[in-house]
C-alpha cells in the first residue's frame, strides 16, 4: 500500500520539500497500518503466545510484564496480548468487509442515482435518507439484537450504516462530474450508460470513495468496539477490543490495565486510519 501511494504521488507538482512531507504523511500511517495488520494476522501464528481463550483461572489477573504474558492476563486467565491481537483481527476483518461492501454497494447506488437523475434519483436518495435519519448506533443495535451477536451479523448491521454514507459521496461526486465537458462528450458519442458509469465515472469517483473509506475505517472500528462493548457485537469468550474494555470496566479500580491495553490498541489503530484518510484527502483536494 505504501509503495503504491508513494509511486503515484511522484508526479505531484509543487516544491519538493512540501511534497516529501506530504508523502511521509501518507507513508507513515500506511506503514503503521501495515504493521498493525501484520501483527494481528501473522503475529499469533509466528509469535509464541497462548490461545486467546481457554486460559486457566489459576492464572487470572496476572499483572503486565509477567513471564509468558507480556501484557498480563484477564479475569479468566487468558493472555491479554493474544486477545488484543485476535480481537484486532476480527475488528479489521469486520471493518474491511463493512467498508468494502459499503464502497461497492453505496458507490454504485450513488453513481447510478446521480447519473440517472429524475425519479430514480429521488427514490434512491429518499430511501437512503431514511437510513441516514435512522440513528446509526440504534439501527445497528436493533439489527444486532434481532439477528443475534456474531461476526457476520455485525458486518450486516454495520453495512446498513455505511452504504448511505458512501452513496451520498458517490452521488455528489457524480453530479459534479456531470458538468464536466468529457462527460458530455462521452454522452454525445453515444456511449452506453453502463460504459459511462464504469469507464468514465468510476475512475473519477473511486479516489474520493477510497479516501472516505480510510476515514470510515476508524469510524467503523469505533462502532464495532461500541457494539461489542454493549455485548451486541462479538460474543464472549471470543475476544474483541470492545468486549475487553467492557470486561475490564468491572474491575477498573483494581486492575486498570485491563482497560488501558485494549484502549491503546483501539486508539493507535483508529489514529493511523484517520491520519491516512486525512493525508489522502488533502492530497486529492490539493490537486
Amino acid at each position: 500500500m505504501a509503495v503504491v501511494e508513494s509511486a503515484s504521488g511522484a508526479p505531484t507538482t509543487g516544491p519538493p520539500a512540501r511534497s516529501r512531507t506530504r508523502d511521509l504523511q501518507i507513508t507513515l500511517p500506511a506503514v503503521a497500518i501495515a504493521m498493525i495488520g501484520a501483527a494481528c494476522f501473522l503475529g499469533p501464528l509466528v509469535l509464541p503466545i497462548p490461545a486467546p481463550t481457554g486460559g486457566s483461572v489459576l492464572e487470572s489477573y496476572l499483572p503486565s510484564f509477567s513471564a509468558g504474558h507480556p501484557l498480563g492476563t484477564d479475569p479468566n486467565g487468558n493472555d491479554i496480548l493474544s486477545r488484543i491481537l485476535h480481537g484486532g483481527r476480527s475488528s479489521l476483518i469486520i471493518t474491511l468487509a463493512v467498508n468494502g461492501l459499503g464502497l461497492v454497494i453505496g458507490g454504485a447506488l450513488g453513481a447510478l442515482s446521480g447519473h440517472l437523475g429524475g425519479i430514480a434519483d429521488t427514490v434512491i436518495m429518499r430511501v437512503l435518507d431514511v437510513l441516514i435519519a435512522f440513528p446509526s448506533l440504534v439501527l445497528v443495535l436493533a439489527v444486532a439484537q434481532s439477528l443475534g451477536p456474531s461476526r457476520t451479523n455485525t458486518i450486516l448491521a454495520l453495512t446498513f450504516f455505511s452504504v448511505p454514507a458512501f452513496a451520498r459521496i458517490s452521488r455528489a461526486a457524480t453530479l459534479r462530474l456531470r458538468e464536466q465537458p468529457f462527460m458530455a462528450a462521452a454522452e454525445l458519442c453515444g456511449t452506453s450508460s453502463g460504459r459511462i458509469l464504469l469507464r468514465h465515472l468510476a475512475p473519477n469517483v473511486l479516489p474520493q470513495l477510497i479516501t472516505f473509506a480510510m476515514l470510515g475505517m476508524g469510524i467503523i472500528i469505533v462502532i464495532e468496539g461500541a457494539l461489542s462493548f454493549l455485548g451486541l457485537g462479538i460474543p464472549m469468550p471470543a475476544p474483541s477490543w470492545g468486549n475487553m474494555i467492557a470486561q475490564g470496566q468491572q474491575s477498573l479500580s483494581a486492575t486498570p490495565m485491563l482497560v488501558v491495553w485494549p484502549c491503546v490498541a483501539l486508539f493507535v489503530t483508529v489514529l493511523a486510519f484517520n491520519l491516512l484518510g486525512e493525508s489522502l484527502r488533502s492530497r486529492w483536494s490539493g490537486r
Binding site: R126, V130, A133, L141, G225, A226, I245, L252, F267
Partner: protein
Amino acid sequence: MTAGLARRSRESGLARLAGSPSLRLIGKRVLLAIPILLGVSVLAFWVLNLIPGGAAQQLLGADASQAQIRALEQELGLDKPAPLRYLDWLGGALTGDLGTSVVSGQQVTQMIGSHLAVSGQLVLLAFVISLGAAVPVALLAAFKPNGWFDRLSMLVSITGLSVANYVLAMLLVLVFAVNLTIFPAIGFVPFSENPVRNLHSLVLPALGIAAPLFCMYTRFLRGDLVDQLQGEDYITTARAKGIGPWRVLLLHAFRNSAFGLITVVGLNLGTLIGSTVIIEQIFALPGLGQLLLQAINTRDYMVVQACVVLFAVVTVAANLLADLLYAVLDPRIRYGSR
C-alpha cells in the same frame, strides 16, 4: 359577493405569505421530512419483526407451550397481520400514545418522558462545553494560520477525533473518579433534588460526549475561517478599509463561518444520540439510551420502537432546523434560487 371579495383578499394575503422564499423553503423541507419519518418508523417496525421466534416467544422463554404463546400473542394483539399492527401503532403515536410496555406494563409515553429529561440535559451540557471551547480555540488558531497555536490545536483535534468516546469516558473515570475521586464514577442526581450535585454527576459523561465534538467543531471552524480569510473578496475589502485583524476575524469572517458551524452542529445531533447510548451505559445514567438498551435486552419492542422513532424525529428535526437557520441567516439562499 362581499364574502367572495373577503375570501379573495384573504387568499391573496396567504398567497403573498406563501410566495416568500423563506417560507416556501420551510414548507418544502417540512414536507420532505414527513416521508423520511414514516420510512424510519416502518423500518423500525420491520427490523423489530425480524426477531426470530416472535416477541411472545421471547417474553415467555424457550420452554413456553404453543398455547401460552398464542394466548399472549392474542393479548398483545400480535396475532394481527403486521401492516395492521403498524397502522394501529401509527394512529396511537400520532395522538401521543406510544402504547404500553410489554415488560413493565407502563405507558411508553410516560417512560420516555422521564428518561428524556436526563438525556436532554446531558446533550445540552455537552453542546455548551464543546461549542464554548471550540469557538475561542478555532478563532485563536485561525488568527495566525500555521502558527504554534494553530498547529497545536490541529494536533489535539485530530488526535482527539481518534479517541472513541467510550475509551475517553473510561480514561476520565479512571483519572477523575478512581484516582483523584473528584467526580462520581456512576449515578445521577436529578436537577430538582440538588442542582449542584446534578451538574457534578453530569460533568464526566458530558465531557465524554463533548470532547470529540470539540475536536470536530474546532477543525471545521478553523478550516472555514482560514478559507474565508484567505480567499474571500469581502475580507480583502475590509482589510483595505483599514479594519484591524481581530475585527476582521470576529465581525466579518466568523459571522460567515458561523453558518457552516450551525449546519455541522445540526448534522451531528444524530451521531450524538448514538454516543449518549453508550455513555449513559458507562455512567449508569437513567437516560433514553439506557431505556433503549434495557428495552432491547428485554425485547420490550414497544419501547424500542418508540425510542428509535423519537431519535429519528430528533435527528430529522435537527437537520431541518440547521437547514432552515442556514437559509434564514444567509441572504444569498433567502433571496436566491426559488
